[in-house]
Every structure is written in structure tokens, then in C-alpha cells.
């Protein structure tokens, strides 16, 4: 997008090309939301990022919270003072916030409150592909599922009406293909954000001790029944196509594929599009089932709709055949769907032949692309993590173990760095390292990024001090939440409102937690850093080494802004083509052409790391250590 400021245009009726996430941001402005909180995470990040750029101008409050749980706490606090609030997060963020959300459903809200959960089928940028619609079912909260950017905006606005009518938080569940699809969006009217609220004391409503929780559970169930009525008449649940052959029920991107697959196959299918997927419109679905002998449920990931539709069928249309992914699998439960996969499933259900021979196409493609080298994401040229990993491997070698964490530094698992032995979720490196170290007795170095340390690393560190675990926590501090787009965090001294604030230093936190050995090193000063890390491994208890250097992308941007010229390193005649630089670092700026090592001047960021590892002193540059 040219500039997030275009989201502020008071131009009702104007059509703009917006990313799904930007459309949600526009919805925030049209719904007059006062408080927006988030922790960055792909594919949700651009919601918070666009709002951060325009928050002061729009007159609303925005923050990058320290993690998703705190983000929901802050927003729910505001919503309980009658202000409209919204929290955006990626799917796994909801696991972090789940403890709170489950009981917030009992407490409810006074001002409207919406949680965006952006799921990631196909794990484009995630550690799993869980289906968060089940959280709506588990918490008894309404859930809306858009299928394109226009609907993402419309549903954002509608969610607040539903939320305020029921006094409940509402989920908006997107997927990567909704959040990261651009499409035309028609602007509506802007509403001035209401930022001021008032807290009304009401212990029975707001204090969830057992005596008050029990009746509030009943209240929640009553509200859920009302939500079901809203679902029956919701404009987001509707039959979009009438047809005789089969009936299709679908939601989200799966709906898009269903329409196109139906067209491709020339099927005379009826299509029921579900946009409010919790609670389901039981009567509407029941009536739809009655009109067909075959029903196909098309959805991504888990058979969330299918299981409930089968239960509805038992009451409304016991003889209807429901096809999906339970019992016989017509569609995969893993990965994202596509028009091809949906068409293939429909072909298997109906016995109608596919008009395109996909099989033959794939065979030919496989033949043409045989032995094609892979191109996985890698650490950028000049990335300080490469320097840190070089140092860590040099000191720890193959003997030490390296639990790692969520962030760019997960890319350290690629050869030749090979750093990263176990990775599960945010902050887990610090805790897992302690269990591993206790039972193996091996040197264990937990790898964690700066933003991840603030998000979920601190309790693990306190645990290490408390239980005297012999681990080294290596905090790779590149001064930003880099992977998701360089958002600020508590260690940067900047806020989501783009103003300065107290900078919280990781080393001070570590000292405050009681860690005896805490050091800060520059990863590009490899010798010094290695000496410190060696010393850290000698400690009887936990130690913390902060490897601090800015993300190279941020650094390059800053240098461009200041007009500082980057002078790339060069290979001199002394080079013997021993390839040590490549074998140790795997930097994308170091190439081999016709058997000769060359530094690509377009991608070299002049970090100087290769200069310090070359055994022949054959690389030169102003950037030497």
C-alpha cells in the first residue's frame, strides 16, 4: 500500500485495493474503535502495523503489547469500561491468551470487543496449523469468518454490533489467504473513536470467584443461545447459489475455491456460504440439507463444520449423505485447499470427470523441474544472527545442545550454521534447555530473540535461577521484532503510538531475575564474544549472554536515510578458493562462479564477518573487525 494514511480518507463509497488486514484496519476506523492491542505475528501483523502508523491522527490508542495475553487483558479492561476495543494476533497467540479468554467469556464486555485470530493453513510462517474455530466452540463465543477483504471489513464492523448486543467478545477468524489477499474494498463512513470510558463497580459481574462464576456460566449459555438466533438471520450466512445436483456448505477461502471448482466442473450445485461459523445457524442448515441427497462440506483444516452439520443432519435430514473429511477423506485435513483440490474432491463425490488432467500436468512439471535446487528462506547477508551462530558453534561445537525459539533466528537450523535442536513455541527454548541440561548433563545454550524474550522468556529465566539450572541463555537482540516487520518492543524505547518511552534492557532484567553472570557482546566482534560465551559455559548456574547488533535490514535502511554509503567487502588475489567462508557462514552474498569465490556487491552489507573468518586474510574491506 502506498501509505497507511489512505485508510484515513473520509471518502464513503470509494473503492480501494486493500490487503485483508488493511481492510480490517479500515473497519476499525469505521467502527470507531478506541483501543487496539496486538502482538505481531504473521499473518496478522499488518492490522496493528497500519493502525500504528495512523493511530494518533485517527485519535485512537494503539499498543504493541508484550504478548497476546497482555494484549487481551489491556483491551478487555478498556472494553469493560464501555470503550470499543480490538486485539489482533496470529492463531498460536490465542493459545497464549486462552487462559484469559475462556473466563473473559463469563465476564463479558460492555463496549464491543473483537479478537482477530489469523490462522495459517500450510504453515507459511508458523509452527503449526491449528484450527482456531474450535476456540469459539470451546469458549461459547461468536465467530465470524470472512472470505475476502471486503467481507473482512464488513464483518469487523458487524462484530461490534453483535458483541454489544450480547455483551460478549467476538472472534474474527481469518486465514493467510484472507489476511494476505488484496481485493477491492468499498469505503464506508468513518466514526470518531471513543477513547474515554468509565469503570462501573460490579463485583458479581466482574470478579470471577467460584460463587460468581457459576451463575455467569449460565449467563454465557443464555447469551450463546441468543447468538444462535443472530446466526440464523445473519446476512453473512446465506445461500449464494441454487442448484439441483448437490449442495455445498463452505466458509472462508474454501468458499472461493468451491465456487470456482463448481464452475470448472460445470456442476449444478447449491452453495450455502457460512460467514458466522459459531454458533451455526442450525435451522438454516437443516433446511438446506433437506433439499439435497448429497451434501459436500468444504473447509480448510479440521472438519469443524462437518461434525456439527452431521449432528444437524441427524435431526433435520437423516437420509442425506454428508461428504467431507471425516470417515472417508474427500479433502485433506492438512495444508491449505486450492481450486484443484476442491475440484478433485467434488469429482470423487459426484463421479464427474475433471475437465483438466491435473495428474498429467503434475507429471510433466515434475519431469521438467527434476533436481531443481531448493530455495528456502535464509538469514540475510549481514544478519547479526549469522555472526552470533558462528560464535556459538565455534564455542559449543557439536557437543552442546541448542534449544531455539520463534523468530528469524529459527533459520539458524540451515547448514552450515546448524544451530537449533528443538523449537516448539514462544519462549520454550529457555524452559526446554533446563530439562535437557538436567537429564543429559551436556552444555545447553538456549537461543532466544529479544522480542520473544520479553514475550515469554522471562518466566523461564526466573525458573532457571530459582531451580539453579546450568544453562546459558543467548539472547539474540537485533533491536526489533524483525521477522514480522520490525515492530518495536519494550527493549527499543519506542511504542506503537510511535513515541519514545523508557527502554527496558534485557541485561537489567536478567540481573533483576538473579542471574549472576550477565554479559552483553557485539556478535561481529567474534573473538571477544567467543571468550565471553566460553566463560558463561563455565558458570555453575544459569548465565545470560546478550548478542546485540541491529537487524541488517533496519541498519541498511537507516544508512540509506542518512546517505551513508555501504562499501562491500572484496576478495583479493590471496584467495585460494578454499571455500572456508562459505562452509562456515553460508552468507548469500558470497557466491562461487566458475570455481571462484566472489562477493556480490549488490547484496553485501559490509558486516565484515567473512573478513574475520578467512584463514588467508584474503577478504578486505573497511568493515574489518
Amino acid at each position: 500500500m502506498p501509505d497507511s494514511k489512505v485508510l484515513l480518507q473520509d471518502a464513503s463509497g470509494k473503492r480501494m485495493l486493500l490487503l485483508g488486514n488493511e481492510a480490517i484496519a479500515r473497519g476499525i476506523l469505521e467502527a470507531g474503535i478506541g483501543v487496539v492491542t496486538t502482538y505481531p505475528g504473521t499473518p496478522a501483523s499488518e492490522i496493528g502495523d497500519s493502525i500504528s502508523e495512523i493511530a494518533s491522527e485517527a485519535g485512537l490508542y494503539m499498543e504493541y503489547s508484550v504478548n497476546e495475553m497482555v494484549a487481551v487483558e489491556v483491551a478487555a479492561g478498556a472494553a469493560n469500561c464501555g470503550v470499543r476495543a480490538l486485539t489482533a494476533m496470529k492463531h498460536v497467540g490465542l493459545n497464549v491468551a486462552a487462559d484469559l479468554v475462556m473466563t473473559l467469556a463469563y465476564v463479558g464486555v460492555r463496549g464491543g470487543y473483537m479478537i482477530v485470530t489469523a490462522d495459517d493453513p500450510e504453515c507459511y510462517s508458523s509452527q503449526n496449523e491449528q484450527d482456531n474455530r474450535f476456540y469459539a466452540l470451546l469458549a461459547n463465543l461468536p465467530c465470524l469468518e470472512p472470505s475476502d477483504p471486503q467481507e473482512a471489513k464488513d464483518m469487523t464492523i458487524a462484530a461490534f454490533e453483535i458483541s454489544e448486543k450480547l455483551e460478549l467478545p467476538v472472534f474474527l477468524r481469518t486465514t493467510t489467504r484472507v489476511s494476505h489477499t488484496r481485493g477491492p474494498v468499498a469505503y464506508g463512513k468513518l466514526t470518531k473513536a471513543k477513547l474515554r470510558g468509565d469503570f462501573i463497580r460490579d463485583v458479581k459481574r466482574l470478579v470471577m470467584v467460584p460463587a460468581f462464576s457459576r451463575p455467569k456460566h449460565e449467563v454465557l449459555l443464555r447469551q450463546a443461545a441468543k447468538a444462535k438466533e443472530l446466526s440464523e438471520t445473519s446476512p453473512f450466512n446465506r445461500v449464494v447459489r441454487k442448484g439441483k445436483e448437490i449442495g455445498i456448505i463452505s466458509s472462508s477461502s474454501a468458499f472461493n475455491y468451491s465456487v470456482e471448482a463448481t464452475d470448472m466442473m460445470g456442476l449444478d450445485a447449491g452453495i450455502l456460504k457460512l460467514g458466522m461459523t459459531h454458533p451455526l445457524p442450525e435451522k438454516m442448515i437443516g433446511q438446506f440439507l433437506k433439499a439435497y441427497s448429497k451434501i459436500v462440506v468444504v473447509e480448510e483444516l479440521e472438519p469443524y463444520l462437518e461434525m456439527q452439520i452431521k449432528a444437524i443432519a441427524k435431526d433435520y435430514a437423516p437420509n442425506v449423505e454428508v461428504y467431507g473429511k471425516t470417515n472417508r477423506q474427500f479433502f485433506p485435513k492438512e495444508g491449505e485447499l486450492s481450486t484443484r483440490l476442491v475440484a478433485t474432491g467434488l469429482s470423487n463425490v459426484t463421479g464427474k470427470k475433471l475437465p483438466i488432467d491435473f495428474q498429467k500436468m503434475s507429471e510433466k512439471y515434475a519431469e521438467v523441474t527434476k533436481n531443481l535446487p531448493a530455495r528456502p528462506p535464509i538469514l540475510c547477508a549481514g544478519c547479526p544472527h549469522r555472526a552470533s551462530f558462528y560464535v556459538i558453534r565455534k564455542v559449543g561445537g557439536d557437543k552442546a545442545l541448542y534449544p531455539t525459539d520463534i523468530g528469524c533466528y529459527a533459520l539458524g537450523i540451515a547448514p552450515p550454521l546448524n544451530i537449533g535442536d528443538i523449537l516448539i513455541n514462544m519462549g520454550a527454548s529457555v524452559g526446554a534447555a533446563q530439562g535437557i541440561s538436567k537429564v543429559t548433563g551436556r552444555d545447553t545454550i538456549a537461543i532466544i530473540g529479544d522480542s520473544t524474550f520479553f514475550h515469554a522468556g522471562i518466566p523461564g529465566l526466573v525458573n532457571a535461577v530459582y531451580n539453579n539450572s546450568k544453562v546459558v541463555v543467548a539472547v539474540l537482540d537485533n533491536l526489533a521484532t524483525a521477522m514480522t516487520g520490525h515492530q518495536p518492543h519494550p527493549g527499543t524505547g519506542m511504542t506503537g503510538m510511535q513515541s519514545t518511552t523508557e527502554r527496558i534492557l534485557i541485561e537489567k532484567i536478567a540481573e533483576g531475575c538473579g542471574v549472576k553472570y550477565v554479559r552483553v557482546v557485539d556478535p561481529f566482534k567474534t573473538k571477544e564474544a567467543a571468550a565471553v560465551l566460553k566463560e558463561a559455559l563455565q558458570q555453575p548456574g544459569p548465565s545470560v549472554v546478550v548478542f546485540r547488533a541491529p537487524c541488517t535490514l533496519m541498519d541498511a535502511r537507516e544508512k540509506r536515510r542518512r546517505g551513508v554509503k555501504i562499501v562491500p567487502a572484496v576478495i583479493t588475489d590471496k584467495c585460494t578458493n578454499c571455500l572456508v567462508c562459505i562452509k562456515l557462514l553460508g552468507c548469500p552474498a558470497i557466491l562461487v562462479e566458475e570455481g571462484k569465490v566472489r562477493i556480490d556487491e549488490n547484496s553485501c552489507s559490509a558486516c565484515g564477518l567473512c573478513i574475520s573468518v578467512c584463514p588467508y586474510g584474503a577478504i578486505e574491506g573497511s568493515c574489518a573487525e
Binding site: Y124, D148, H180, D263, I582, V592
Partner: protein
């Protein structure tokens, strides 16, 4: 027009996202229905990336079905090859000749395949292949970073797009920083003219 599908394939950092967005903005300017798919996050770090642009009244999904690309715009030869699954005989392939070796090649001390071999492989699936030396034109325009806009110009040069060339130029004006507009419009023009020469062949 039923639908028009463009696949833009390259390496993270080459500017495929901006080129795809320009096509989307141009479509909205021309009052057409459009969907653009993007990949953000981890994949952007020097990995293989692909964006798709679909224009047409009955377009719902943002992703292109195998074999259904009208144009495959390859920002890099190996990535062009990797995305041939979207191509068929009728697909026009426009390929930037600039090679970005994947790290696997250096690690295994292998060399990057010859352009002719790559073109030969593409011909096994798509008949029409046009090569563009985007770097050369970008430098001529005044900034090597404008390679993506050269390729966008090349797309316009095919005269097959359902969007107006002027709308694309306007989109470029909106998307690039004000001080770089002239360089980028020049890059666009050079890309456009480079393809016009091939028009009789394709």
C-alpha cells in the same frame, strides 16, 4: 473476459509484491474485479516467493490453479522454472535473465544452469518465452532497484493485460517514494519497449 491470471515468481527482496500490488491497483482504477495473493513473513527472507494477480468478474480465489496462468512473469530463471506448474502451452512466459544462485549451489559447489538450458525446459511446457534483461534497463533508468518496474513495463508491453497501461503508470506513481517516481517511470517505459520488439514473435 472470463479471467486473466498473472503469476509473479522470484526471490524475496526482488520486489514481486510491489509489482503485483501495482497490477491490483490498476485493475481497481479500471473498475475491474481483482484478487492479489501474497506471501509475507518467513518466506520473504531470501526464499522463493510467488504472488498472483487474478482479474475478472467471476474471480473469487486469489491463487491461480495449476496450468491456468495467462502470463508467468519470472523475476529469476530458476524461480521461473519452479513456477511452471501454473503454466500450460498457451501461457506467455516473460523471464528476467538475472541469476540469483540459491545457497545450496555454493554449498555443494555446483554451478547455476545455463540460460539456454532453462529456456529449453520452459519450452517443454510453454511455447512462448521472452527474455528481459531487467538489470540493464534498470541501470539505464538510473537505479538497479527498479528491476521490478522494468518487468512490470514488460508486462504492459505484451498488450495482453486487461488493465490500461496508463493505469499501471498511475499505480507506480502511487506506490514508489516521490523522489523515485521519474526513475521508475523510465524503467517502466524501457521494459515496455523491450517487449514491443518481440510482439510479432509472440
Amino acid at each position: 473476459m472470463k479471467e486473466f491470471n498473472i503469476v509473479l515468481a522470484g526471490v524475496g527482496g526482488q520486489g514481486t509484491l510491489l509489482a503485483a500490488e501495482a497490477l491490483g491497483i490498476a485493475a481497481v482504477k479500471d473498475e475491474l474485479n481483482v484478487r492479489v495473493s501474497e506471501i509475507h513473513g518467513m518466506a520473504q527472507r531470501g526464499g522463493a516467493v510467488v504472488s498472483t494477480v487474478r482479474i475478472g468478474e467471476n474471480v473469487f480465489a486469489s491463487t491461480v490453479t495449476e496450468g491456468q496462468a495467462d502470463i508467468l512473469l519470472g523475476f529469476e530463471p530458476l524461480e521461473t522454472l519452479r513456477n511452471l506448474k501454473y503454466a500450460s502451452e498457451k501461457t506467455l512466459v516473460i523471464m528476467n535473465t538475472e541469476k540469483i544462485p540459491p545457497s545450496e549451489l555454493a554449498a555443494k559447489n555446483m554451478s547455476y544452469p545455463d540460460t539456454e538450458d532453462i529456456v529449453k525446459k520452459i519450452h517443454a511446457i510453454a511455447k512462448n518465452v521472452v527474455l528481459v534483461e531487467a538489470m540493464q534497463f534498470a541501470k539505464k533508468a538510473g537505479n538497479s532497484l527498479a528491476r521490478n518496474i522494468v518487468l512490470l513495463g514488460a508486462l504492459a508491453g505484451t498488450k495482453r493485460l486487461p488493465v490500461k497501461t496508463e493505469s499501471l503508470r498511475e499505480a507506480v506513481r502511487e506506490l514508489v517514494p516521490a523522489k523515485h517516481v521519474d526513475v521508475n517511470l523510465k524503467a517502466f517505459q524501457l521494459g515496455l519497449e523491450s517487449i514491443e520488439k518481440h510482439l510479432t514473435e509472440i
